[in-house]
Structures are given as structure tokens and as C-alpha cells.
Amino acid sequence: MSGMSKIVKTISNIIFPFITIFGLYVIAHGHLTPGGGFQGGAIVASGCAMILVAYGSLWTMDKIKEKQLSILESLGAIGFIGVAFLGLIFGLVFFKNFLVNQDTIPIFNEIGKGLSNINTAGVLPLMNFAVGLKVIVGLFVIVLVMAYATRPNGGEIE
């Protein structure tokens, strides 16, 4: 499908960084305020979908190769499982939160309400980042491929 007018493209260029920053904030503070991996990822993905609607699926498919996005998605998934396996190696139980209540890396040891810092919950923010990356890329690829497949003449993927 073709893009929209110049006014729409300009406004979506201006708004897109704000949406991305807000989404990344929701991902990063998932262990303190409502939010987390999936919610923040959905916010950033809807920002990317706004860019897709404003510029048209043909232009976006030329600029972004779908194969590179698949690599990013797999990296997010491997990050999640890798952290779980690290819990097995360092903490003797699968999925264990091995960065909390320990003395070798004391930077992760602050726990408690009232301190809204990222390093207060051990392994949880790392898993949030991995899930957030996977959700951003995954939802964006779904919308991109569907928009490309329903363009007016033809519609063959890859």
C-alpha cells in the first residue's frame, strides 16, 4: 500500500521518538510499576506500526529486510532461555534468581519498596529486556508481513 501525505509523515516522525522512549521506560521499570516485557514491547510496536502506516508497506519493505529482524527475534528468545540456564549453573535450580542476596556482585543487592532503581530485583530486569526485544520485533514483523501480503497487485512474500 502506498504512503500518506507529507503532513502525516512529518507528524509521525516527530512523535515516534516519544513513543519509543515511553515504551522503553515501561519495559525497564517492569519490576516496580505496572508494565514489563510484553506491555512495553506492545507500546513500541504500535509506534513502529504508525510509521508503517504513514510511509506505506512498499517503502518499508525495501528499507528493512525481514531476515535481519528474524535474527533479532531469535536473539531475544535465546537471551531469556540463557538467563534461565545461568540460574541453573550458578544457583543450582532452574530459573533461580541468582543475583539477589549474594556477595560476589553486591550491586544487585538492594531490595525493598521506595527505591525505584533498576538494580533492585536481580535477574528480573534482564529477563524483561529480553522479552521486550522479542515482543517489539515479533509484533512489528507480523504487521509488516500482513500489510505487504495484502497490497493491491499480487502479494507474494519472499
Binding site: 510499576t33 505496572p34 510484553f38 519498596k113 521506595g114 507480523i142 508481513v145 500482513m146 501480503a149 495484502t150
Partner: protein, 114 residues
């Protein structure tokens, strides 16, 4: 009595969704029906978590009120994620079906022989 209204809404949503899945022939309407059933079940899970005069289950420094149960909120979030994945999958299958058969009518697709 006023605290029972969400349960009536749940039953109404699920019944309308089941009617749409069973009796409608357009494929997109079947997908909308499944989405309605999901919304009904999610609403049911969140309504179970409410206690009277309770606030959100987040720690903040001031005061202490009763908090509503946090576990059903986590269950509902998982269910919403699963619903997104299932809806995306169903819509992709509908795109393939439309490209192959040229129609969105479920009964016409069932009668075709390849």
C-alpha cells in the same frame, strides 16, 4: 447487587461470542467471536481479584489500604498475550484462504474439492 454486574457482563460476552462462532458464515466474524469469548474470560479473571475498598497491588510509601489480589492480574496478562498470538495466526490463515479461493464464506470453502 451492584457488585454482581461484571458477572452478568461476562456471561453475556461469552454467549454472544459462542453465537458468532457457531452460526455465522463469514470467516472474519468467527475470529471476532473468538475474540469476544477471550474478552469475557479475561474480564471474569479480573473481577475475581477485587476486594471491597481495595487499591492496586503496588507498594508506595504512603498509608496502608487493602490491596486487591495480584495473582489473577498475572493470569489475565498471560491470557491476553496468548490471545494476541492466536488472533494473528488466524488472520494469516484467512489471508491464505482468500488468496486461494477468492471467497470468505466458510460453507463455500467446505464444498470445494481442492
Amino acid at each position: 447487587m451492584i457488585y454482581n454486574i461484571p458477572y452478568f457482563a461476562v456471561v453475556a460476552l461469552i454467549l454472544v461470542g459462542l453465537y458468532a462462532v457457531i452460526f455465522k458464515r463469514n470467516l472474519i466474524k468467527i475470529v471476532i467471536g473468538i475474540s469476544l469469548i477471550e474478552s469475557g474470560v479475561n474480564l471474569f479473571l479480573i473481577t475475581l481479584a477485587y476486594r471491597q475498598d481495595s487499591t492496586a497491588p503496588i507498594y508506595h510509601g504512603s498509608g496502608s489500604r487493602i490491596m486487591s489480589l495480584p495473582v489473577p492480574h498475572a493470569l489475565t496478562l498471560t491470557s491476553i498475550v496468548i490471545g494476541v498470538a492466536v488472533t494473528a495466526l488466524m488472520l494469516s490463515l484467512i489471508i491464505h484462504l482468500y488468496r486461494h479461493y477468492g471467497t470468505l464464506d466458510a460453507r463455500k470453502i467446505a464444498e470445494e474439492e481442492e
